[in-house]
Structures are given as structure tokens and as C-alpha cells.
Amino acid sequence: MGNVIEFIKLSEIFGLVSKPKFVLGTTYTLSLAFFESVIFPDIQRSHLKSCLILCDAIGHHHALSEAAALQGAAQDYMVVAAPVPGAFHSKVWLIIGEGEAVLLVGSGNLTQAGFMTNAEMFDALHFTLQAPPTPAMAASVRAFLMGLAGMWPAQDGQHLLCVETLSKMEYAFADLGASRNGDLQETRFIHSFNGPLIEQMPKEPEASDLYIAAPFFGGNIQGLAAVSSRYSSAKIHLFPAVHGGNSTDIPLSKVISTYPKASVSPLAVPQKKNAFPHLKLYGVVKNKDSAWLYCTSANCTDAAWRGTNVEAGLLRSVPRSLLSKYFTASSNKLPAAALKIDYQVDVTSVLPCWASDTGAGLDIVVAHNSRNRLPLKEVTLTIRSGSNLAICHKPVLFHEGVVVHLPWTAFAGWQRRRKIAHCLEICARDVTGKNVHAACLVENKLLLSADPIHRSAFRGALALLDAEGAPELADVAAIFTLARDVFEGHAAKVSEPKRPDSSTSQPENENQPVSIAVWPPQPDTTELRKRIGAGAFGHLQWFQKILKIFLSNEPSDDENDHFESNLAAHGDDDQESVAEVCRDEALDGAIKKAQRIWVSAYKDYTRLRDKLTHLCPTTENAPNIWAAALFALLSTLAVYRAVKRMAPDLPLGVTCDALCDDFLRAMFNERRQPDDFCCPKSLRYRSEKFPALSHDLYCTFKLRPHQDIANVILALLINRRVRVPETSLPIFQKHQINMIYPPGLVPDQHVFDTCVRVWRRYMCTDSANPPEAAFEANFKIITQCLSGVTP
């Protein structure tokens, strides 16, 4: 091979689609640690709806040995074993973006060897709206996607997110359209879902030469016979790979005796002289000028070309002269020894299953075609997450069908960890008493099916509250985008609330809210979904989920310690000076990152805060204002704390106390507009002095915040009193509290605990020595004053 064969980093191919929406990868074996370390981080994820990796069952089984070290598997991307009778061997990557797509097909598995070190061969096509696929190509890609989805019977498909995702990918690819014309010489995507590969190869009765380079032949010449039978007139040029320097996977003597005219030699790959030639490349000379070149996953085996394997490749028409560049014989001699491979793999004890995290527990599904092996007895279920594991024993499982739900509490001592993959292993006896085992990653369907913005916001919220590392700027921005959507009513435009009707036989209690609140997190979802639509419902669900995390999730006590110990992990007892340098660099980077995050977050918050000043609530957005405003504040306070954790000495231009006080002013004070403000006729307000938002929401819309939100407001009020002590409760504070709590509700111990927790987490600036006694004293003052207070 000369310089005519390009030498390209696969990472550059992944970068061709600027904002991918879908990424599909198929592979035989895989290293998910490699994928997470090297490939996934380079995929732009701001618009990424789904990333799906399909692999062979055996590859999947081996890949799970790395599960303990994985973070995003089944959380940020899907990994599913393909249920096919043969080997799922195709190596296809389809990256679909807005108006463009890349199809990458070749011989390399998703491993370090397959992507980097082996001598592999890939071919790729870039489709755009200006250069769409030909009709045949478009049909073939869609057939491939449909073929993948069709691997699962309908009974299994209904449980599987990957099937739904493949369907979405097919639609997304179809959006690219197809060119009007195609011709017989065009590049073709040939795969097993359109029939045996050999039958799809172009017929060339006059073919003069057939070139085959492959590492595996199945230990026989059946594959060679299959391919050569298609081109019986052609002279064979065979390039078997040398394994371990001493063997090939084809009986050479039999090749010579069966095909006496064939030339057999090792392949020369100048770009990777010492690498194992794992490539699978086929060339057919059509005539004196042109040839076909098929770059594929298919080894030269009967199973690949005519059997049950799933294979794929790109077939191109190329100048005949090019073949000699690809198929150059090495001067080395081929060894006569035969490679010993045990092709017999017992998979009868493996039970295909899938698991998903429902939040409360695990949904486990066994493949429909394994239902006759159920119920399972003496079942041991092990859930692993990092180095933690929890075990659940069940005498019988799946006695009512192929689906079972197990609460997390069934796993004694299980503590769910975030940002880490969960792996489920099942060992049991089937109905016949035979030992069976199953293993799969536990899918977080909520995350996997979330919109990119929601996933990003969720990730940001977790990062803000976690002691580990720092949030990504884009993730923090996504939180504020979500807040803005809810704030502006994009998320939940509820229908006009019913006004009290004088003809109603039962008098309406005017103090009871009549609108639907954004909060609490568990609304009547069916009714709400009907009202606001599925898209907005998704926004709302994620908004609530994140707010719930902000309010209820207990962060680590030793955030600072952890950050410091992370830095310390770079050090070494004997290399303190190196460690010092590393620490300095890490700190410098942390400071810059912290600054960027804060500037962006504070800008977003200021925009939302300014809107509160000018806002005239309507029936559409009024129910969201308390929740959205508080969401924005808590997000900002969380960012504030995270930034302070990352860079304690970084001046932020505002204090935590100032943020809290400003929020209270925005919600409880009258809002004076600028002097040149001219009140529009359409506005409900008639002067440049707008009423306090809390007052307007309560008096006009009968809206008080949900109690969980009210508790946070109470914590803000107490926090102010802690800093500016007063022995009594001034009338204006009574009024403020009456705007948030219904009459007669006196904050109890639960409210106190909530307030303290929120205060310590977001507002207390002296975390080392929180003035808890003062907080408690002020809480008591408020409680006492509230007893008997009526609005």
C-alpha cells in the first residue's frame, strides 16, 4: 500500500457531524472503558438525543468485566447485546446530525486495538442536504436500521429503549432525503439484513482477479469457496493474516490443492508494519480499467458470507490500478501452522435479560424466547456499582411472566451512586434445574430518553451538589435555560383556572389556591400531560426532578476535603515537588473554570431576576413564578457554593447574603419602574409602582407557593433575621409569611428540619461554625407569632 491510501484518525470522522443528534455504533467486541475514555468525550453532546452501541452477546459479556469502572454506560449511552443466532459482527457507525450524517464502516471493533493499534480498514461517507445519499444508499441504511430493530421479537421490543431509538434514528436519517439519481457504479452499503452478502456482491462474469485479505477463515476453505464461487473466472490472490507470528486460520495446503493457480502471501500494510492485520478487504477486477473494493467486517468464512452472522461493508467502484496498492504482498513467508481457536462457545447457560432503573427499583425483563426456562429458582441477584455491591436472594423469580419488579430495598445495604454504571448479575436455576446466569447494565431510561437540555441540566444539578469535581459550563447554562422556560410559561401553560362561580352551590374557600402549581414533584401527571402537552410535560418533569434534588438531596459533608484529596491524589509521598506543581496547575485551571461558570450563571440569573421587576403575572405563568424564581435562586446559590469550593479566594462581586436579600426584595417588595416608564393600557397595573409579586400572586390568582417552596422562603427570612437580629416579628414579616403559608399552619419540627437543611446548604456562609442556635431562636419567634395569626 502506498500513499494513495490515506491514514486518518477515526476521531476526526466522529467530528465531521458538528452537532450529532444520534450516534449508533455496532461492534463485535468492545471496551466501554475505551469508549468512555477516548470516544464519547469527543462527541459533541449538546444536541445528542441518543447514543446506542449494539454488540455481540459474547462481546457484551466480556465488556461487563469493566462495568465496575464505567460511568456513563446505560446512563448517558446505551449498550445492548444483539440477539442473533450467529455472530453480531458488523462494525458500523452512523452519526446523524441536523441535515447531515456520516456512515463509517470497517473492520475495527470498538476497542483500542480496533480503533488505533491494529491494521484495520475503514470506509466512510458524509451525507448532507446538498449531497444526500442515493436512493439505494438511503434505502440500504434504513434497511440496516430496521434490520437492527427487527432483531428483537415484538414482545421484547416493547420493553426496550434501543428498539425505539433505532426507529427514531431511521426517521432522522430519512430526513436527509435522497438524491434523484443513482447508477450501477455508485457506492453500496452491503449488509446482512438485505440477505447473504455473497448474493449482494455484483455479478462479474468476466472478473479476472479476486483479492481477499482477512484474518479469519474459520479454519477451513468454505468461506473462500463461497466468495470465489461468485467470481469463478477470477484468479485468487489470498492474503491471510499471520497470528502470533506462527500460524494462519486457513489450511494453506488445502488452498493450494484446491486452487492451484491461487497466489497466497501475507499482506503488507506499510502504515502499520508491525500491527496485526485485522482488516477484511475484498477486491474484484471487473475489466481492464475498473474494479470493486469491498471494505467490510466480514471475515472469509461461510458464516460471514452465507450464514447467520450480521456483517456490513461499503462496496466501491475504483480504478483497477488501485487494487495493487491495497493488496501488496509482503516479502515474509506464511507459516504453515494452523491457528487453534475454539469456535464452540456454550451460551446455553446465558439468559438474555435487560434491566432498567425505575427510581424506586429495578424492572427486569427476560427475553421472550427464554420464557420456557422460567420461573427461576434459588435466584441470587447482585447489583454492582463501582466497587460496591448488594445482593438479593429470591427463592423464586419470574413466576408470573418475563417481567419482574424489585424494589431497591430488596438489595440489603444498597446505596445508589450517581454518575456510575450499575450492573446486574443473576445466578439461578431454570425450570429444568440447570444453572443459568445473566448480566446486563441497568438502564436509566429517564436519563437515556431525556432531551439533551434536560440531561445536561440534570447533570449540572448533580455536579453542583456533588463533592466531586466541577460542573460543566454548558450544564449549568442548561439549568438556567430550564428555569427560564418554566418561568416564561413555555413549560407549563395551564388552562384558564376556573373563577369562583356565584351559582356554585358550595361556596369556594377564597384562601384555597385554585390553579395548578408547578410544584410538588408528583402531580396528577395524566391530567397535567393532557393540559400542557408532552413536550412541556417533559420540561416540567425535569424541572421538578432537579428542584427535588436541590431541596432534598443531602450533599457530602466533606466537600472541601474531597476536592483537596482529589488534588492530593496527583501527589506522591516521594514526589512532593511534582505534586506541588500539579496542584498549582490544577488550582489555576480550577480558578479559571470557576470564574467562567460564575460569570455565565450570574448573568443568566440576573436576567431572570430583572424579569421579576417588570413582570405582570398572567393566568398562564402565575402558577410557575414562585417555583421558577426559587429554582433560579437555588441554582445560583448552588453555583456560588460550587465556585467557592473550586476557588475559595475568587472574588465574585456579590455575596451569598446579598443574593438572598435581593431575592426577598424581588418577591416581597413593591416594584418601582424607571422614571420614564409609561404604563401600557394592556397591563393590569395602572401605575409605575407595581405591587409586590407575592402579593399580586396571592391576591389576584389566589396562589401561594407549595409548602416545600414556602419552607425555603421561610429559611431565607430566618437567615436575614439571623444576620439582623430582632426580638419580635415585625408586621411586614408577618405579612410576608402570610403570603407563603396558609392561615393556621404553624411550622413544625419537620419544617424546621427542612429550613435548617436548606439554610446550611445554600445560605449559611459560615459553614464551619453555623449559628444554628440563632437560627432556631428566630424560627421559634416566628412560630410563636404565627400561632393565631390570620391573614
Partner: protein, 310 residues
């Protein structure tokens, strides 16, 4: 933007040559698998059990020294811990009077500290940072907890306030056996009272030498005189209950013994190769009479190197 060629291409290695260690994050994978299947929660610096003994003794002794909650403060704990840690590191120096008849420990935490005696013993005096404390995350901190010497690194505070960074020692019989054994040994030194106190007194080289001969040099615990506490340590290190998270360590140890019993002269790479292939170099099977051990051998072999292949 990369222009795609109109023909197949060879993928180029895009690993960052010289761009830093652990480009693929495989060290993490390696450590995780080693930490899960081979020697859970520990790593290969655990050869020196004496360091564990002392690391576990410090919080236990501190608790004993405190008579009430006014004593039990982070400040007091830090002072006491630093004093013992600096003294411990001083025993690594090759000064006169320090007998090395039991050899030297492999992981000499804090041996780069800079302190001239006589002096009070603190990290500040020794110009040490908490990153090279015995309890740092990168050193023995997690291992001490995973071996069951320390219940938690945080003591609960009153009224739900922020917890204190004072470890709570374990209270099982083996842990107590070790704590008391270490304490009894250290008490033989005349300066023990000054060490086991909150006082910031000055220590001399003679004090350190004396302390090192009664167990402050962790290598000293290799002596047969400490057989009883070594047994307790072994039970902690190699639990016999298969449900214990540390049980794979026991399996690994048994597998190692079984392998070496079959071939006493094997080197470490040979053992690793035997576990991976299931056979010795002459083609004979490593199979043991115990199915559990056979499975363990397969997991240990394949788990550790699988991703390096294909």
C-alpha cells in the same frame, strides 16, 4: 474539516503520545478490577501491616485520651495525630540508635518531612501537608476503613451540626486486640506518656529511637512477639465469610497459595500467565480441587488483561 477520501483508509492511532499518563483511563479500570476481584479496597502498598496497626491505633488512642466532649475536638485530634505521624516518619530516618533487625517498611509515608530534633512534633514543624498524611485518600485512608479498623472518618456532632473530622475506631474483638497490643508495646518506651497526650512537648532523637524499638517503626511488628495481633490482622485482611466484601482477597490468597504449592518456583509473571491461560508453561492445568478457586483463577486472569487483547 476532514475531507473524506473516496476509498477505504487505514485508521491512524490518535492516542496522545507523551500527552500524559493513563491516556485511556485504563489505570482506573485496572485498579477497579484489582480492587474488586483481587484484593478489594486495598492495593500493593499493604505489605506493611505495622503501618495499619499504627494508623488504626491513633484514633483509638485519641478516644481513650479524651475524658469528655471538650477534649474530643478536631484541634486536639489533629495535634495528636500529627505528633504521632511525624514521630512515625522520623523512625524511617537512618539515625543512630535505630535498630533495623526487622528490616524497613516499603511505603515510608512522610519520609521527606524536614524537621530537626529536638522539636515539638507537628506537620507545621515538619513542613508536611495533609496530602501526605497517613490518612490521605491516596495513601492509607481508605484502606484503613475498608479493613475495618475505622468505622467512619467523621464523628457525629450534636444537634445535627456538621460532623467532626475525627475517625471513629472499630470496636470488634480483632480491632481491639490490635489497638491494645500496639498500645501495650508502645508503653514500653519511657517517653510514651508524652507521645500519648495532647501536650506539644519536644522530642529528641533518643525518644524517637526508643519509640522505634517498641513499635513506632512499623517494621517492628514483623517480630514474632506480635503473633497474636498479626492473627487478628489476618482475620481482618482475609475474612472467612464469603459474604464479606473483602472475601475475594481470601480467594486470591488461597489461589496464590494453591498455585505456588503446585509450582513453588513460579515468578509473578508466570503466576499471572498461569491464571490467565489456566495452565502452566509446560501445558499442565492449574486446576485445583476447589471449583470456587478455579472460577476465581479464570476471573483473575481474564479480568485483568482482557481489554489488552483484541
Amino acid at each position: 474539516m476532514t475531507a473524506l477520501p473516496d476509498r477505504p483508509f487505514v485508521p491512524k492511532d490518535f492516542s496522545l503520545r507523551g500527552g500524559g499518563i493513563d491516556f485511556l483511563g485504563l489505570r482506573w479500570v485496572n485498579l477497579t478490577i484489582v480492587g474488586r476481584d483481587l484484593i478489594p479496597e486495598l492495593n500493593n502498598v499493604t505489605a506493611d501491616m505495622g503501618t495499619f496497626f499504627l494508623g488504626a491505633w491513633i484514633p483509638w488512642k485519641f478516644k481513650k485520651l479524651c475524658s469528655n466532649d471538650r477534649d474530643y475536638t478536631e484541634k486536639n485530634y489533629q495535634a495528636f495525630r500529627e505528633k504521632v505521624e511525624v514521630a512515625l516518619a522520623l523512625t524511617f530516618r537512618n539515625e543512630e540508635g535505630i535498630d533495623r533487625k526487622f528490616g524497613e517498611v516499603r511505603n515510608r509515608v512522610g519520609n521527606t518531612q524536614k524537621i530537626s530534633l529536638p522539636s515539638p512534633l507537628s506537620f507545621k514543624e515538619a513542613k508536611r501537608t495533609k496530602q501526605n498524611s497517613l490518612y490521605a485518600a491516596a495513601i492509607y485512608g481508605p484502606s484503613l476503613q475498608y479493613l475495618g479498623f475505622i468505622k467512619t472518618y467523621h464523628s457525629q456532632a450534636k444537634g445535627g451540626a456538621k460532623s467532626l473530622n475525627i475517625p471513629v475506631p472499630a470496636d470488634d474483638s480483632d480491632a481491639l486486640e490490635i489497638f491494645r497490643g500496639v498500645d501495650a508495646s508502645l508503653q514500653k518506651a519511657s517517653c510514651y506518656e508524652r507521645l500519648a497526650s495532647f501536650d506539644a512537648t519536644r522530642f529528641t532523637q533518643k525518644d524517637i529511637s526508643q519509640l522505634s524499638q517498641v513499635g513506632l517503626d512499623p517494621a517492628w511488628f514483623r517480630s514474632r512477639a506480635y503473633a497474636k495481633i498479626k492473627k487478628s490482622f489476618r482475620r481482618k485482611l482475609l475474612p472467612s465469610d464469603s459474604h464479606e466484601p473483602g472475601y475475594p482477597r481470601t480467594l486470591t490468597a488461597r489461589l496464590l497459595l494453591e498455585t505456588v504449592r503446585q509450582r513453588p518456583q513460579l515468578t509473578v509473571p508466570q503466576i499471572r500467565a498461569a491464571w490467565y491461560t489456566g495452565m502452566f508453561e509446560d501445558g499442565k492445568s492449574v486446576a485445583t480441587s476447589n471449583q470456587l478457586l478455579n472460577e476465581a483463577a479464570t476471573r483473575r486472569g481474564k479480568g485483568a488483561v482482557r481489554w489488552l487483547k483484541d
